[in-house]
């Protein structure tokens, strides 16, 4: 898939980064530049399809199968960068 890096934004002086739409916010020191895609980028399973299985270790060291663990309840599944940085 031809995903393109969005290079239209850039640092605006100081700790700020501004994207091409003029949104700006601080870029914390040490974060490196954000690798933001330009145009379409993959967002995974489509609306209307079953969420693929997720089996992963949780914060207590327990192996969790999301579909089994939610026990028939609706759920929100968030993919984010890191709890560390």
């Amino acid at each position: 898939m031809g995903i393109e890096l969005d290079t239209r934004g850039g640092p605006t002086g100081g700790p700020y980064y501004e994207d091409f739409e003029g949104f700006n916010m601080p870029e914390p020191p040490g974060h490196g530049s954000r690798r933001i895609p330009r145009g379409d980028f993959p967002t995974g399973p489509e609306v209307g399809t079953r969420l693929p299985d997720i089996v992963a270790t949780d914060q207590a060291g327990r192996l969790v199968d999301v579909h089994a663990d939610r026990a028939g309840q609706p759920a929100v599944v968030v993919f984010y960068r890191s709890a560390v940085w």
């Binding site: 895609p37 997720i54 992963a56 609706p74 940085w85």
Partner: protein, 294 residues
């Protein structure tokens, strides 16, 4: 989290961190939802959302996903997903919960004082803070009397679609409005087909703060989000005059807790962030852990 529990909606958050880093985070922040560890980015890759703009030799960052959220129903079917081009923005918890529960959830009980032959409107902001990088929603609920309807986009000239509009303000960004599906109404005269809302309608406008352009109150801790709701009601015979209702919300303009690298002095709880980060780099670089740092 209480709102999620009360609503019977589970929350899972997955990242490429090691389980022990998640354990430290959970302890530092009293986390009660499930943090999932995907250190080799296997789940992220299986979802097809690995950020391939990051080269594999960029050790600390390789393995990250394009960040976003999925909302699934009781059968495990994806009912909504939220991905933004700008990774600095993410959808707020209220927005995700509303998507999990459906539009009907937010319609409040009828107000007592409003006569039942006119549209009445309730406008709120979902949440009491607008921290940087997290969206909140302006929620407008229209109670539409029997036999009347409102218009959705697109509308022909001369009619006003129901909408939430923000005042001109560089400091607040708005996103694609979340609207229920419209029905269609064909006019007998012209044969034009219009998009209409019948019955109660809930419109949502996600907003976020635009950091440096933000105009905060004198003490720097609050921000005001103002604008108006517009609508025009019609029945089968005639249209009433367009109406509008201004709104203004003053909310706390907080900063989210960013990565915690420090020893946990002051407001930010300790989670040994720097130590976990060093291990993350060592592991990806394929070097031995540096014992002298332990």
């Amino acid at each position: 989290m209480d709102a999620y529990r009360a609503a019977g909606v589970r929350l899972y958050a997955l990242s490429y961190d090691e389980p022990d880093a998640l354990a430290d985070y959970a302890e530092a922040h009293d986390t009660t939802f499930t943090l999932l560890s995907d250190p080799d980015s296997e789940v992220i890759t299986s979802f097809g959302i690995l950020n391939t703009l990051i080269p594999p030799d960029d050790h600390p960052w390789y393995g990250l996903p394009f960040p976003g959220s999925y909302v699934i129903d009781a059968d495990g079917i994806v009912v909504a997903k939220f991905f933004e081009h700008n990774f600095a923005i993410r959808s707020g918890p209220e927005q995700l919960l509303a998507a999990a529960l459906g539009q009907e959830f937010e319609v409040p009980a009828p107000g007592g004082s409003e006569p039942a032959d006119r549209v009445s409107v309730d406008v709120r902001i979902d949440g009491d803070r607008l921290p940087m990088g997290v969206t909140r929603q302006i929620v407008a609920t229209f109670r539409v009397p029997q036999g009347q309807h409102l218009y959705g986009e697109p509308v022909p000239d001369g009619l006003v679609a129901a909408a939430i509009e923000l005042d001109d303000n560089d400091g607040i960004l708005s996103y694609e409005p979340v609207t229920p599906p419209t029905g269609s109404l064909t006019l007998s005269g012209s044969g034009d087909t219009l998009a209409v809302y019948e019955g109660d309608v809930v419109l949502r406008l996600p907003v976020a703060q635009n950091a440096r352009n933000m105009q905060k109150d004198d003490d720097g801790r609050f921000v005001t989000i103002s604008g108006q709701v517009r609508w025009q009601a019609c029945d089968d015979v005639e249209c009433f005059l367009p109406e509008s209702m201004p709104f203004s919300f003053r909310v706390e303009a907080g900063f989210p807790v960013l990565g915690d690298m420090g020893p946990g002095v002051g407001r930010v709880p300790a989670m040994n962030g720097a130590q976990h980060f060093q291990r993350l780099i060592d592991r990806r670089a394929g070097t031995e852990p540096r014992d002298e740092d332990q």
